[in-house]
């Protein structure tokens, strides 16, 4: 296919088209903005430019051209502001780096303050799972830092998961959004427990099942760890009830819980070693 010059051209064209398709797919499925906006914007710009021209003419005819006569002074102002803006952008870049560092340190201090009864080890997330079906993260602390298997990992927002395998200088953490993860929880307004499990197609939601029949659940209710099961300590925030799915049989009803931790952006965590 790639040997003849004609075939070669066809092959290259095929590759380019495939690459474009791939990039478009990635962009379309990841953009937060509405795709329609992207399509509509150029048309709006063209229409608004023409409309601007008409407005200018209209103002001239009416003698209402005060705005336009002051255009020169505005242009000068614009140039000054542009220079000022460039200076601020450069300063901002330096601040962003410092801010990121500061945020991480604050988070770690915040966790220590939030849970003063625990002895904690701060850590950074150094790797996220490459697989689409498991959601294990790797952190940069291990046995040499006192981390052991089954220790709980949290951020200042809430529960992350637990250590499934501690090596010398790193540890694997099974997150609560992993499908193999099960966390015993209770709802803020009730003392009855339920079990949350990770689901395949989301990094932000987990499914809450085994909900007691007489428990009243409302959207926005906070979910905490119950302490049952022996791995997770009690009262760590897991997330908030996002959707309630009522089934015909009440025992089968389930909820979707939005996790307190943003697993797409998670960068620093702490490992709970033990109670002080």
């Amino acid at each position: 296919m790639y040997k003849s010059s004609k075939g070669n051209k066809g092959g290259k064209l095929g590759i380019i088209i495939t690459a474009i398709i791939l990039i478009v797919l990635v962009i379309c499925t990841n953009l937060n903005r509405n795709i329609i906006d992207i399509i509509v914007n150029p048309f709006t710009k063209i229409t608004m430019s023409i409309q601007g021209g008409f407005a200018y003419l209209g103002n001239k005819i009416k003698g209402n051209d005060e705005y336009f006569t002051s255009l020169d002074s505005m242009k000068k102002q614009y140039d000054d502001l542009k220079k000022e803006n460039e200076r601020l952008v450069s300063e901002n870049q330096k601040l962003v780096a410092l801010q990121a560092e500061n945020k991480t340190l604050k988070e770690q201090i915040g966790i220590s303050e939030k849970y003063p009864e625990w002895e904690v080890v701060p850590a950074y997330v150094i790797q996220k799972d490459f697989s689409n079906y498991s959601k294990i993260i790797v952190i940069n602390v291990g046995k040499k830092d006192g981390v052991e298997n089954d220790m709980t990992v949290v951020t200042d927002s809430g529960l992350v998961g637990y250590v499934v395998s501690a090596e010398d200088k790193s540890s694997k953490v099974q997150t609560i959004v992993d499908t193999a993860s099960a966390v015993s929880c209770f709802i803020s307004n009730s003392d009855k427990s339920m079990v949350t499990r990770g689901i395949l197609d989301s990094n932000k939601k987990i499914k809450g099942t085994y909900i007691d029949n007489d428990v009243v659940i409302n959207e926005g209710d906070t979910i905490y760890t119950s302490g049952i099961g022996g791995i997770y300590p009690k009262n760590i925030t897991v997330g908030k009830v996002k959707e309630i799915e009522n089934t015909q049989n009440k025992t089968n009803r389930y909820v979707y819980v939005e996790t307190a931790v943003d697993f797409d952006k998670i960068s620093s965590v702490v490992v709970i070693k033990n109670q002080k």
Binding site: Y2, I15, S131, K172, G198
Partner: protein, 177 residues
Amino acid sequence: MKKVSSIIIMILVYFFIYFLQINFFSWFNINGVKPNLFIVLVLLVGIFIDGKAGAIFGFISGLYTDFLFSNTIGISAILFAVVGYSSTILENRFSSDSKITILIMQSIVTAIYEFVLVGYRALFLHAYTDILPFIYILAIEILFNALVIIILYPLIQRFGFYLESVFNKKEMLTRYF
């Protein structure tokens, strides 16, 4: 000497894919779904050298992947070894004269690999698995792998020729090109 250097190249390609999977595809993904280029690499080694080499390479690279991520050491090793070896079986069944062959083989092994892996997780790790999301993710993963293969095909072709010449494969697989 050439064999040693080609093994080193394979290892380097593995690490290149590893960093690509961890860093690049963590944001360059289709609706959150990443490709699995390890499967593609192991399959290609099996096709261009032979099933045994594919199985050995698959086992070692799978074991290494398990050390890094899995909570069950050995599962990826066994599955990658099967992927590497399966190339021999699939090679005998498919002989169409185009890259479609590689794409079909990739689709089959990716589906089998992920199906077994998810099945294992459901049975032994009690992972909660919904069928529809699984099929959806698998379909995108296969599509993503296929698109990457199409884009990198000239490179794969050269790499394959090189491996074939180094390991003196008796039958030159010109039919793939």
